[in-house]
Symmetry: C2
Amino acid sequence: MSILIKNGLVVYGEDLNVVNADVLIEGNRIAKVAKNIREGADTVIDASGRVVSPGFVNLHTHSPMGLLRGLADDLPLMEWLEKHIWPREAKLTREAIKAGAYLGALEMIKTGTTAFLDMYFHMDAVGEAVLESGLRGYLGYGMIDLGDPERTEKEVKEALREMREIEKLESDRIQFVFGPHAPYTCSLALLKEVRKLADEHGKLITIHVSETMSEVGRIQERYGKSPVVLLDDIGFLGKDVIIAHGVWLDSRDVQILARNGVTVAHNPGSNMKLASGVMPIGKLLNAGVNIGLGTDGSASNNNLDMLEEMKLAALLHKVHNLDPTIADASTVFRMATQNGARALNLKAGVIKEGYLADIAVIDFNRPHLRPINNVVSHLVYSANGNDVETTIVDGRILMLDGEVLTLDEEKVLEKAEKVVESLL
Amino acid sequence: MSILIKNGLVVYGEDLNVVNADVLIEGNRIAKVAKNIREGADTVIDASGRVVSPGFVNLHTHSPMGLLRGLADDLPLMEWLEKHIWPREAKLTREAIKAGAYLGALEMIKTGTTAFLDMYFHMDAVGEAVLESGLRGYLGYGMIDLGDPERTEKEVKEALREMREIEKLESDRIQFVFGPHAPYTCSLALLKEVRKLADEHGKLITIHVSETMSEVGRIQERYGKSPVVLLDDIGFLGKDVIIAHGVWLDSRDVQILARNGVTVAHNPGSNMKLASGVMPIGKLLNAGVNIGLGTDGSASNNNLDMLEEMKLAALLHKVHNLDPTIADASTVFRMATQNGARALNLKAGVIKEGYLADIAVIDFNRPHLRPINNVVSHLVYSANGNDVETTIVDGRILMLDGEVLTLDEEKVLEKAEKVVESLL
């Protein structure tokens, strides 16, 4: 299988140089980027007036939560969780979660996301949806033991079961990830066990860390240290760890993350909507910490649009720091693409020979994207997910000219609508 | 002329009650909202799976600035203005501004904006574009005299000339507005003259006030008072005044605005991108000040998408105040619709019998807007301007199923692209 994308404005390489060129995909890799490629291909896509961008990597989400979108907003965090989210989640069956996963996958394909790091329940069901969708899914089962040894054992068992089920799917695109929920919901025993299992099975770990002030306070009370210091002290941190949020990090925390090569998945939209706070982006960038971008779940965003998320990231840090130069367009674009890919050990997130063919083609023949004065600026500040026209993952076209080829859109929407009735 | 919109989810009345109903438009007014309307109509629009929303009122923009979109970002304010914006604006001819106005009008129609308050130069040229587009434009010539009496006279003359030209267009949809730029760029003599002329001609006034900290400092140094106190002291304020930004307002300023019935046009996107600061929304709401929503120009946003702007408003205030209950979805939705209409003395911004037929039909058959758990929440937190399918202004269809009927889209984009070359 080969695909030739003709005449697009290509966001090329790590440096995001915009060049008018063709992109040749052979198998699941980018084979060539050059002007006037003469090789033939099985499929030719005309990208004139379009931008050929690396696909987006959503580094933190709970993809089935689209089901709960808009069910409760504008509430204090604990009221939101206890009265609205948790009671509904308790009713979520495997079937419901699968319907939510299809909805999430459909939304991601439509908005140019090509890989995502997920944390939820019944991840083997999510894996089946991801397999059919054609996306890359890194799927973490969210483990919570609340310090109860019986639950610790149960959670480890369930994680390993889901891991084996996901491995049965036999797809390079779908990887199991360990997903202990957070230091305040997991015992040290569970966290240590996860670290051991991740080493043993060669899997990544993702965990919520320092999302809210109150959570940091609870850890401080319980252990007399910050969540990051706690994780460092038990040898939990490493290059294979992606912490979500990292809002309330102090300078020492940042140094520890840098020293251990930990990635932070930044979720500006969710942090704003839940009023969690603002991640210290300047400190993290200065320390050289790898920062990726995520949307979080659709109950706290309320969508999975990575183009919108880039704008939120850039704007939030400027006003918070009263500094318009911070979080510039290129920095934020890298967070949403190559930095996320790096965290997942994926040779993706960059349009360049030899990289995985994970690509979004974005229609710039639209008034809000013209004149084409600056492609990367337009992607960050002017575009949104609806501008994506074609999505390619692993050398396979998942959406062409707005039509999703791998999923039955109508059926996915109907099913999601039906499933949510059982939660109300 | 009559239009019947069938089977939509209608955001009805000031209270935003969502009802499944038909909407009958006769002439330029909403004649009836009810289930199963049996009257025939010249045009019937099937709105199943769609939301029928009041059109959006962009209460502060510089519509031709789409030309400069992305030409300079991520820069300190003065460097941005002095090195990038002003030198380009100095090259803007009447023809260029008209091309920019067409681009802006096209973008607004496509994203469901039905009325806007503009401030720029050559507003008679903008008026011609607005006339053809079918939008409602409130057009202010931006007056700046920098304390030079000769310039005061020249600016007043130019404003009155543009007013007369705009009146020659003889359209209720297009109104001249006085637009003195700001207290720090206009002499007291000019401001007083504007107040007098606005009374004489029965026109609205719009002016930038307290956008940046440094601007407030300059006024404090020059006059020993805040910009709002200054304007109050010269009798400038009133129900017909719309101040843009209002970021750096103290409690006394807020009381003065409330007492005078002044409207504030809030521009969260621009205030974030330029790192200007955060408008004190809580104080303004408590004092009962009317707050509308604007995108500002596309050089500092970088689009005219009012749906995106609603999300920015809701999210910014939550994180800034560390309070997730502030700026809830309904409050923000009203800012973007009925509050803006009220400021413009327009019986619009509400879907209700007798109101002007300014309507946006939004396609909810999209994964990021499903399940339809909460229509207003979805409009604020999940949707974006690209979801708008049909735009109606003054009982006339400007866009139907994504196709703009009043403007030649391709021609507008080409012309904008060509014009910008002369500015580089």
